[in-house]
Symmetry: none
Subunit: 404 residues, 2 copies
């Protein structure tokens, strides 16, 4: 797909000395809790509320009104890249999440340990969710016994439970490799070299490796084989500097977010985890960079756990840390989420996320607090997450006029 919007933005982007901070409260956005409101409504967040009273509020669909996003595409969208056009393969996401230093020529795939029966058919696609320790032990066994050519390197890394990362490093590799996961039990693993993948050198290498793995693991139980998904290489995307003429930094404590930030040419400034550290590192980064992406994971983690009280606490903890940033306000400050993770659902959801934009050229109405219900009445209306970044650019005077 062509990215006409991205090209338009890049043709209008202009540098100036204004600073933009995007504070992402991962998984911000909840559903109602028995009529008591959302986590953000229930949390005591006086600092965000005070900020909201001088800000533009609105709501954003992470992509479409109905699609639940993973954190990868969620952030891609927040950075202004259409997540439907700019897709990261599963293998690359796994590598980023493990802080694996993936190179341009590498091919990465996600592996799951599985169980095969005596006929070679899959009986459990997750091998009974073996422990991470067992996973590590089996990968060591594979590495020790795997025989490969000198011009190839094979990396195997434990993710968690039955999940692992495979990275191939060598010359002229490609990602035209068929997934071997048949997606259902009672079937044999698929051949990675099947049509349309038969011409791929990497598919042949993969078949050879998996044949060996099967032999190496044949006496193990329940994990006697691996299934692969999402062979992918690092994408070649326009960087933040190319698209926005920005010098960007990331303040993010978790590998995957640092990885996505690096993909777009951001420097990882530091990796704090507590709200106070996150905010003070952001204030430091603002001195050197004109765009700072700041990531706070806890609202998502607590939301995924279905723990409303912990989610409220996470939001309150960030609110308490906020004054250091509000007393060192950047020209444009955005507070929003990459997607909703409602505690009542215990999972990511499709619901839009609230946006707070503190910036010059605010119109009003000036509303009382920052939450999903209030933000619905805000001046920004209901937009798409991929427009938040360019809205920040507009408010910072970093977008030229289109046409005379």
């Amino acid at each position: 797909m062509k990215d006409d919007y991205g090209q338009l933005i890049s043709s209008l982007a202009q540098a100036n000395d204004k600073k933009i901070v995007m504070l992402v409260l991962d998984g911000l956005g909840d559903t109602d809790n028995d009529g008591q409101g959302t986590a953000l409504q229930m949390a005591r967040t006086p600092n965000m509320d005070q900020l909201a009273q001088k800000s533009a509020l609105g709501m954003a669909h992470p992509v479409f009104p109905d699609i639940t996003l993973g954190s990868g595409p969620g952030h891609i969208g927040l950075f202004g890249y259409d997540p439907v056009i700019y897709r990261i393969g599963r293998g690359v996401l796994s590598a980023l999440g493990l802080d694996f230093n993936l190179r341009k020529e590498d091919v990465a795939a996600r592996l799951n340990f599985c169980t095969l029966d005596y006929e070679g058919e899959v009986t459990d696609r997750r091998a009974g969710r073996i422990s991470s320790e067992k996973n590590h032990e089996l990968l060591e066994k594979i590495k020790k016994n795997l025989s490969i050519n000198d011009d190839l390197e094979v990396f195997l890394e434990t993710e968690s439970e039955h999940r692992a990362l495979l990275v191939l490093r060598g010359k002229d590799l490609d990602d035209k490799v068929g997934d071997t996961d048949p997606q259902q039990t009672g079937k044999k693993p698929l051949d990675p070299t099947r049509s349309p993948y038969y011409g791929s050198k990497t598919a042949k290498i993969t078949r050879d490796i998996f044949d060996q793995v099967r032999e190496i693991l044949k006496d193990e139980s329940p994990a006697n084989m691996v299934l692969s998904r999402g062979f992918a290489q690092l994408p070649d995307w326009p960087s933040f500097h190319e698209r926005y003429k920005l010098k960007p930094a990331a303040v993010a404590g978790y590998p995957m977010y640092c990885g996505i930030a690096r993909l777009l040419g951001m420097e990882v400034f530091s990796k704090p985890k507590s709200p106070a550290d996150i905010i003070s590192e952001t204030v430091k980064a603002m001195k050197e960079y004109d765009f700072v992406f700041t990531h706070f994971k806890d609202p998502d983690k607590t939301g995924e756990n279905g723990d409303l009280q912990e989610k409220i606490k996470a939001l309150e903890a960030m609110d308490e840390a906020l004054p250091e940033l509000t007393s060192n306000l950047p020209d444009v400050l955005i507070i929003t989420g990459d997607h909703s993770t409602p505690a009542p659902l215990g999972a990511h959801s499709w619901h839009p996320v609230p946006i707070l934009l503190k910036a010059p050229a605010i119109r009003g109405p000036f509303l009382e607090s920052f939450d999903e219900i209030t933000a619905l009445r805000g001046e920004l209306g209901m937009i798409s997450s991929k427009e938040i970044m360019t809205l920040a650019m507009a408010h910072a005077g970093k977008l030229a006029k289109f046409g005379a």
Copy 2:
């Protein structure tokens, strides 16, 4: 880019005897003024407010939530043509703005007088913003001394200060001519025949003309050369009649708006400038035409000047003239803007514009006044400017049902 939406509309458009008036308050839409509200909120506009109480209100993004539009694309959008697809070259816009009668075979470009140093490098891209009189005098000198072939005509017109219009008229001309403006000082003017323009006959003609201009102006100071931008020909777009089956007229006092109206096949009915004349000419035009585009420039002009009080006065003056139209109501009346020009910014901006739609088939809620904050709660929600025209068509019964 393909215009699927436009084709759909065209396939559904049907003529009837209903009348539509689109009153464009240029630059309508402001930001907040120190908590006192926007210009439209501050202005006393009892007639618009009374109309609003019986109308559908809403907000429109001129294109995207974050892009600041020029008046050219702003109007293209209001007329229902996607301004990202339907682009007018800079040269054509300049010609329209000067009321130059551009023909199909002509090529137009925008010129800026500039200053070159003894090495031929640009030291001032605007030649110290010379006066319009000096500009005129230099163009006369060029015309007098320029030697061109018999089959070519060259038109040179003063725009204002350092700005001028160049039009070439002849056979087989094209617009594949490189801009000579290097966009920064310390560089030489660019060669209009450089790749990918080297095959263009018009690029060669242009180079020859600019070589002569340099010789003609060599003893002048500070304006001793011209730089060119935006070579363009009249676009060949579907007319209002083709797209909407309408017989359209324009009541617009300024050349550029008349020019865009003509581009889309509208008759320029008259060119009044005072609010009272604008409204009474509109009422007259309604008798003969089933679509009237009425343009009022003052809110934009005063907004660009950063003059809040004058902007308020302009809005109040139009409101005072309105009863002649409200007592001769067309079937559908739209009042909106082409883009916001907030007085606090003194420039066009990206903020959405309020829409008032007085028509049959209104749903409610019925709100108290016409302004940016109130319209945010209106039934139309937040739409795109290019949908306003077709919304008017729908309310006028001029769009057939899609599918059975």
